[in-house]
């Protein structure tokens, strides 16, 4: 797990939490985020347990990029937390038929394999904020 460059008690708009079980994909996502958003602070997590540890440490990311389906997120009791966190949520492991439910929550999906353009598109509002 990478230590964030900074964190505060309030929601950190510039902090991106990336969770993916595959180290290579985590790093690629992180580098692509930093290419698009050079001063972002990126936290890398392998699984839901590491996310829980990170959150317990007081970190409140502004963007969550999670390799989870909505079903998986609910199973890990993370869906309510993600919804309440105020963070922008991007799911990369979506199951068939989940897209409408995800959209109704105001969340986004990112198809794998992703490209920088794909990621830019889902991060667009955040990139404009910069």
């Amino acid at each position: 797990m990478t230590v964030p460059r900074f964190y505060e008690e309030h929601v950190m708009q510039h902090t991106v939490l990336i969770q993916d079980p595959d180290a290579l994909i985590r790093i690629d996502l992180a580098q692509t985020v930093l290419d698009l958003w050079p001063d972002a602070s990126v936290i890398l997590c392998k699984d839901a347990q590491q996310i829980a540890q990170t959150v317990a440490g007081g970190v409140r990311p502004g963007v969550l990029i999670l390799r989870q389906s909505l079903r998986g997120l609910r199973g890990a009791n993370l869906a309510d937390w993600a919804a309440a966190s105020g963070a922008r949520v991007i799911l990369t492991g979506v199951d068939d038929g989940e897209a409408p439910s995800i959209a109704s929550l105001g969340w986004s999906t990112l198809d794998m394999p992703f490209s920088a353009a794909h990621l830019r598109r889902v991060l667009q509002p955040g990139c404009n904020d910069r």
Binding site: L24, I25, D28, M112, P113, F114
Partner: protein, 335 residues
């Protein structure tokens, strides 16, 4: 009918069987006794047969046998001449034999039908489980394929970040773009029920990204005149890669013109054929251009895949460079 089937295959408790059998006997014998004076002679079992059949169907064979035996004895005593006795006369023997034959036939047929329905129910459950397992395996396979494509894509991108040479970077960009196309088709074919792809829509989704990922994207305008071209899963990947290569090639040659290049993609489905035209408004093809002798990997890929699809690729200079691809559409893909 579905509810009748479910009642027939439902597991019944002993209490349910006993209560059903006793009620059936009471109602059948009672109603037969009540109707005794209203009926002409010769109908001792009129209400008893339905009681046996309904009990056999709704409460099981054992309860049906119990009802048949008790009703038979009751009919013998109450309704066969001489009434109120168990006397055996030739007509009463004949009537009892007739009764036993009918109820035995009924119960055997009902038992066989219930057994067949129960077996069918077990097979249906097994088929449902297998179908669910297949669906789960298919989705798992698709997730794994996506994951593997992502790993390859990540490796290419990481390699690109560590390469300083512009031509090497461009080559890795093209490789990434090809991978994205394959991944897009794989996603389109993700649904096991949908094994065809609308190539027109796919190109609308994919090509803007292919152009924008090029270093020359600010000098290229891409527009579409695209009708739905439905192709099978087998045709989708090679056809998409051919179009991507032709467009990438056009974008690459836009560099030479040092001015804005307009790219126009036309796609038509005409009966048994699909016609795809990539047109630019550049300087056209070199006078000595022979596609087969080109050293461009993209063109070689396009030519090879065109041959694989049984198609034809025509290069000409008409208001710029124009490439026309014609391929036969497979029958399973609706035109």
């Amino acid at each position: 009918m579905e509810q009748l089937r479910l009642w027939a295959v439902a597991e019944r408790s002993p209490l349910y069987q006993w209560v059903f059998a006793i009620l059936a006997i009471v109602i059948a014998v009672g109603s037969r006794a009540y109707l005794d004076h209203a009926l002409p002679p010769g109908f001792p079992y009129l209400t008893l047969f339905p009681a046996v059949i309904l009990t056999g169907y709704f409460a099981g064979t054992r309860a049906g046998i119990a009802v048949a035996v008790v009703c038979g004895i009751a009919a013998w005593y109450l309704f066969l001449e001489p009434v109120n006795s168990f006397a055996l006369t030739p007509p009463s023997i004949l009537a009892l034999v007739f009764y036993m034959f009918i109820v035995t036939t009924d119960l055997v047929l009902i038992h066989a039908m219930r057994y067949a329905l129960s077996t069918l129910e077990v097979e249906k459950d097994r088929s449902d489980t297998l179908a669910q397992a297949n669906k789960t395996m298919f989705h798992e396979l698709q997730h794994r394929v996506s994951n593997n494509l992502q790993v390859v894509s990540s490796l290419l991108k990481m390699q690109r970040r560590n390469v300083a040479d512009e031509s090497a970077r461009a080559a890795l960009d093209v490789a990434s773009a090809r991978l994205q196309v394959v991944a897009s088709i794989q996603r389109q074919l993700h649904n096991p029920k949908r094994q065809t792809t609308d190539m027109g829509q796919l190109m609308r989704d994919v090509l803007p990204e292919v152009v924008s990922s090029s270093a020359l994207s600010d000098r290229v305008v891409l527009d579409f005149d695209v009708e739905p071209v439905i192709v099978t899963g087998d045709q989708a990947t090679p056809l998409a890669l051919i179009i991507v290569e032709l467009v990438s090639n056009a974008v690459e040659h836009a560099a030479a013109s040092h001015r804005m290049t307009h790219l126009h993609l036309t796609m038509r489905s005409r009966g048994p054929e699909a016609i795809i035209i990539v047109q630019d408004d550049g300087d056209g093809l070199p006078a000595d251009f022979v596609p087969e002798k080109s050293r461009s990997l993209g063109l070689r890929v396009a030519l090879q895949f065109t041959e694989q699809l049984g198609g034809k690729l025509v290069f000409e200079t008409v208001n710029g460079a124009r490439v026309t691809l014609t391929i036969p559409l497979e029958r399973s893909a609706p035109h």
